[in-house]
Each structure stands twice: as C-alpha cells, then as structure tokens.
C-alpha cells in the first residue's frame, strides 16, 4: 500500500503500544515484587487482582496540579520528560515482531546501530531534568545519572558488536534470520555479550543495582524529585517502556527474536517475542528487588575497569573465531 499510509498506521500502532507495554510491565513489577516480599500487592482495583491499578494511577496523575518550582528553568524542565519518552518510543520502531514487512516499523539497514544511538538520547533528558529542577538533590541525581549513563554506553554497545560480527549484518531482521538459519540463538556463543548487555541495560534504565541517580533513601528520587502529575507520568511510563524495549532488543539479538524451533506460522511471531521479552523483564525486576545499590565510584570502576575490557576481549575472541571457523 501507499508508503505514507503504512507509515502513519505503524506510528499510531507504536504510539498506542508504548503505554500498553509500560502498563503491563509496571503491573508485572507490582505483582512480582509483592510476591517476592510475601505480600499481595494491588488487589482491589478492577474488581479482582488489581489489574486496573496502574490505569487508575495514570488517571490520578493526569488530574494533578502542574507544579513547577520557582527556581526551575521552565523550558528545559518541560522538555526533559519529552526527550526521555521520545528516545524510548523511537526504539520500538526497529524491533521485529514477525517475519513480514508489516511486523516491524521499518527494517532499517543499520537497525541495531540506530537503536543504540537513539536510546542514548534519553541521557540528555535525564541531565536536563536534574539541572533544570532548581533543587540540589535533583542536581546531584542528574549529574550522577549523566556519569553513569555515559559510562555504561560502552559495555552496552560493545556487547552487541559480538553478535553483529557473528551475524554479519546490522539490521535487526537480518540478525533474527541469521539465528533461525543456523538453528540456535546467539546466546549460546555470545553469553558474555548477553551478560554485558543485561548489566549495561540495567544501568541505562537507572534500575537497582545501578539506581544511584534515583537513590530513594538518600536523594528522595534524585532527578525526579520536582516532577509531579503529567510530567512524572511521562518519566514513569518511559521507564517501564524502556524495560520492555531493552528486553526486546536483548531477546532479538541473543535469544532468537520471533523465531522458535519448529514454529513457522506468521502470526506466532509476536507472541514468541513477547514471551521472551517478559522472561528477560522478569530477570530485570528480580534483580531490582533483591540487590542493594552500588555506590557511584564502585559503579564507575565496574564499568571502566571490568566490563569494557571484558567486552573488548569478547569482540577479539569472536572476530578471531569468525575468521577461523
């Protein structure tokens, strides 16, 4: 069909999908974390099992008063949540949900490169939020976030390079097809890359054990302190959609994406990908509720002194083996 019509429909679908994934991931976090702590979690919202809890929370946030502190830098303050949300939504454009051309926003030839690049725009949003709030706690949180996010970009990207070498292509659809062609997912050979990607993704999402920027017990939510109402909702949705996005990228790169042994039906692709994504999201949620957080300097030394050399070694070994084998 017409290119522009197709593009418009895909954009509408993605803009609708992002809040839905955010709500589902958020609900999963609420319920999983409560059962890990021997309690029930949301129960009464939505007649039973509390599935409407986050929808109710969303409506509550929407009707709150829009408070901007006097000291805050108004244009930057208002723009920061938008930047974080945009960087999350843009990643969804290149995640392949199935084999046909309609199951992916646009099969960009350098899909993974685009995804890594656009997701780091979120760093700017966090720095803007921390700086413009006019609050010392936010400033500390924002600067910590800046340092952390820049430090963990490297292991994130380098962890992926191994997969790219092994697949021979940068496009996301091409990586999935390479895994289907060879019959086993890249996690078997690129387990170091998977490990690095998961840890770096946790740091990119500002989640425990790397949630120094938010650090509730010291900084009272860090760079998010002065945000309330609709703007906080943006950050909140962006965080949970980010979990889904990074898990989906990891599932595509390392776990085989929408392919599964013996399943060739076209409609099964999205379900398989979503299942793998939720498995990885569970791991992300599990880590958050079990571990304490790293201190800022320990976090930085972990990234620069351990993860980056490990990533470089992984690339070297992969490249050598690719040529040899």
């Amino acid at each position: 069909m017409n290119f522009y019509l197709e593009l418009a429909i895909k954009m509408v679908v993605i803009f609708a999908m992002v809040p839905v994934t955010a709500l589902v991931t958020g609900y999963a976090e609420l319920k999983l974390s409560s059962h890990m702590q021997s309690r029930i979690g949301p129960y009464y919202a939505g007649v039973r099992w509390g599935w409407a809890q986050l929808i109710a929370d969303g409506v509550k946030f929407l009707q709150k008063e829009d408070i901007i502190p006097d000291n805050a830098d108004r244009p930057v303050f208002s723009l920061a949540p938008v930047m974080v949300m945009i960087s999350t939504v843009a990643v969804f454009m290149v995640i392949p949900f199935g084999s046909s051309g309609y199951a992916i926003g646009r099969n960009v030839d350098m899909g993974i490169f685009y995804a890594m690049a656009i997701s780091s725009v979120g760093t700017l949003g966090v720095l803007m939020a921390g700086w413009s709030s006019g609050n010392k706690y936010s400033l500390i949180g924002g600067l910590r976030a800046g340092g952390q996010l820049i430090a963990y970009e490297l292991p994130l990207v380098l962890g992926v390079v191994g997969v790219i070498i092994q697949a021979g292509t940068l496009s996301m659809q091409g990586i999935v097809e390479a895994q289907i062609a060879q019959g086993w997912p890249f996690a078997f050979t690129q387990f170091v890359g998977l490990f690095l990607f998961l840890i770096a993704a946790l740091a990119e999402m500002n989640r425990t054990p790397f949630d120094m920027p938010i650090a509730e017990s010291e900084l009272v939510t860090g760079f998010l302190t002065e945000y309330s109402g609709f703007r906080f909702l943006f950050f909140f949705l962006a965080e949970y959609a980010n979990i889904f996005a990074y898990s989906a990228i990891a599932a595509t790169l390392f776990l085989g994406g929408w392919g599964f042994w013996g399943v060739s039906a076209a409609w099964a692709g999205p379900f398989i990908l979503v299942a793998k994504t939720f498995a990885l999201s569970f791991v992300v949620i599990w880590f958050r509720w079990t571990f304490p957080r790293f201190r800022e300097d320990q976090l930085q030394s972990l990234a620069w002194r351990w993860l980056v050399p490990l990533a470089l070694a992984n690339i070297a070994v992969t490249a050598i083996l690719k040529v040899v084998i």
Binding site: I140, P209, D211
Partner: protein
C-alpha cells in the same frame, strides 16, 4: 631532534585546576532515611563531604521535666516511649534502680519474666535495624522479611503485657501483679498466659530460621560487602572517647557488655556469647546485631525451660515512696547503654531524673566519622549506628 612519540604522549598531562564551589546540602529533618527528624548540615564538594554538622532537638519531649511532676508508676508508663522500637528495655534500668534504692528484691520469677521480655525487645529492635538498613542501601525486600518476624515477637509481648510497643509491665518490686485493685480483678494474676511457652518456642525457631535466610539474602551479598566493608571505620579509642556503646562499640573490638558487668537481671544463669568485631566498619556493626538476635533467641529458649515458679511481685506498699537518696542504674538496651540517674527526696515521685540514652552518644561521633566520605557512604554510616530520634532527643 630525536623525539620518541610514545614518550611524548606519556608525559603529556592536562593541569587545569577547576574551581568548584562547595555546596551545602541539608539532609533535612524530613528525609526518608534519617531515623526520625535528624538534620545533617553537610557541606559537600561534588560527591565528597567536607564536614557534617548534626542538628538535633526536633523531637525533644522533655522527659526529665515530665518526670519531676509524675509518680513512679506514671513515669514507668512514660519511659518506654523514649526508644519506642524496643519498648520494654527502657523501663528496666529505672525500675531496678528504684528497687535498689528501696532495698526491695524482686522474686526470681519476676526477674526471669523481665529477662525474657527484655531479650524479646532486643530481637524486635534488631529486626527493625535489619529491615531498615538494607532499605537505605537500596535493597527493598529484606524490609518485609524482617518485619514479618518482628510481628511474631511483638505478638508474644502483647499476649503477656497487653501492649506491643509500650508494654508498661514493670512495677517497683516485680512485674504487674493483677489486672486491677478491686475484689475480683485483684485475683486476675497477670502471669504468663497459657500457650506462651509453646508459641514462644515456635516463634524463636522461626526467628533463627529467618536469620539464616537473611544471611543468604543480605550478609553474603557482594554488593553489600562493597558498600559496607571498610566504610566508616571507628577505632576503639574513638568509640570509647565519645561514649559510644552497644553493638557499635563491640564492633570496634571492645568487649564490653553491660549484661555481664551489671547485675540487674539474672544473666549469669545463661551461657551466651557476646560477639565482637575486628574492624569497626559498617559491616561489622551489621553482623553484630545478627549474632545478637541469635543469642537472644537461644537465651529465651533456655529461660523458658528454666523459669522458676513463685510470686511475680514482692511485698511493696500500694503507693510507692522511695526513701531519700540517689542512684544511677544502667542497663544494656538494644541500642547501647541506657541509664537513669534518680534523685529522690522521699516523695511519691522523684525529685530529679536524668536520662542517659545510647543514641545521643552514638550520634555525637558522626561528625568525626563522616569527614571526607562520599555522599552514599553518609547514609551507610549513620544507618549502621541504629539510632532512633526519640532516644537522641528524649
């Protein structure tokens, strides 16, 4: 010119001193992790703290003035609110001091009941620490595990005394004898209720099991080791010079436990281990309390087996009047040394009561320890001291 390019690169250095002003960060009275309303005026340079000035007094309730116009039973009802986390342990030194002044010896059953309830208060207080300290470091789940077990201990205290946090069970001469003073309520003895021994055994077994579970979840965790080992090292001389007491002092290697040196409860009938640490860092302070929970649980199990029978209060007059005199009595509460200096002029109430609390001295060493550490360590260090603001400000 023979210039080796590698040597040139190695010698190049950017020497640029950036002038960064320091910032005053008010870790204010309202904060998620100061245990109450403690204000720390911290001057920080980037992430490093230059100095810290604690401001206390936001919770001053005037206990010493209140004690001047109250009678002895009324004061006992007020004292368990000083350190509300371990309610029972605050009443003990006052009541034992009053008994010493009056030269009344509580019967052995009353002393054993007091010991059981004090050790339960110790377990409750240390479980609260084990819940809140990992929360300050970022792990949110141990909070719920520890509070679940704390509920069991509080239920036991409630079944005996009627109150969870404020037992109000001590009387001069023993423990609370009867439900009232009328002809029928006089016969309702407030001894241990039926089923107490069985329930206590179950609860203490669960407490010991949960200590092992929390060991797996927290104490063995490498991230926690990285956050707390070597952080906030307090030498024994520093601790002793500031009057720090309790597990904080023992973590620095000083083997000093008032349960052994003061003779206020029959601790010598029990064989318990007083743990001491080696380094005096946050990790040692944490592990001290885990060991103390285990020792208290074992002591309670031994006390239940060996409790003597008999009356639960000695013969004392209805209206307590202490003779003229003064006494300072101290005891080992979960936070440290709690002492009461009681001056009596022979009335129904004291002439003067001075309250020496553990957390006040524990907090006074903070400015020394917090110099030059990073901001996240600020929270780790003062969290490991386990103070409560009611104890600091009285």
């Amino acid at each position: 010119m023979n210039v080796d390019p590698m040597m040139h690169l190695a010698d190049a250095a950017i020497s640029l001193e950036l002038e960064t002003p320091e910032m005053t960060l008010n870790v204010g009275p309202q904060h998620p992790s100061t245990h109450g309303v403690l204000r720390l005026k911290a001057r920080i340079d980037g992430e490093r703290i230059i100095d810290v000035d604690p401001v206390i007094g936001y919770m001053h309730r005037g206990y010493e003035k209140l004690a001047e116009v109250r009678t002895y039973p009324q004061i006992i009802a007020l004292l368990n609110r000083i350190d509300w986390v371990s309610g029972y342990a605050n009443e003990i030194p006052f009541v034992v001091g009053a008994e010493r002044l009056m030269e009344v010896e509580p019967p052995p059953r009353a002393q054993y009941i007091r010991l059981i309830l004090t050790e339960m208060a110790r377990i409750a207080s240390h479980f609260l620490f084990m819940a809140s300290y990992p929360m300050e470091l970022g792990a949110a789940s141990p909070f719920f595990f520890a509070f679940r077990e704390r509920e069991r201990v509080l239920d036991l205290i409630e079944s005996v005394t009627g109150g969870r946090f404020h037992p109000n069970f001590n009387r001069v001469g023993g423990v609370k004898p009867a439900a009232g003073a009328g002809s029928t309520t006089k016969t309702v003895i407030q001894d241990l209720p039926a089923g107490f021994y069985a329930e206590t055994r179950i609860a203490m077994d669960k407490v010991l099991a949960v200590c092992d579970e929390l060991d797996d979840l927290i104490v063995g965790n490498e991230i926690l080791h990285a956050r707390t080992k070597g952080v906030g090292v307090m030498t024994a001389e520093l601790a002793a010079s500031y009057g720090v007491s309790g597990p904080n002092l023992r973590a620095s290697g000083v083997e000093f436990d008032l349960r052994r040196t003061e003779d206020y409860l029959p601790y010598e009938d029990f064989d318990f281990w007083v743990p001491t640490g080696e380094n005096g860092d946050c990790y040692d302070r944490y592990v001290m309390r885990v060991h103390e929970i285990r020792e208290s649980a074992k002591m309670i199990l031994a006390a239940i087996d060996g409790i003597p029978s008999g009356p639960i209060i000695a013969k004392v007059p209805k209206v307590i009047k202490l003779p003229k005199g003064e006494i300072y009595m101290r005891a080992e509460s979960p936070k440290g040394e709690v002492g009461y200096y009681l001056v009596s002029e022979g009335g129904t109430g004291p002439y003067r009561l001075v309250v020496r609390t553990a957390s006040f001295s524990n907090v006074s060493v903070l400015p020394v320890l917090l110099e030059g550490v990073l901001v996240p360590d600020l929270v780790a260090i003062f969290g490991s001291f386990d103070f409560v603001l009611g104890d600091v400000d009285r």
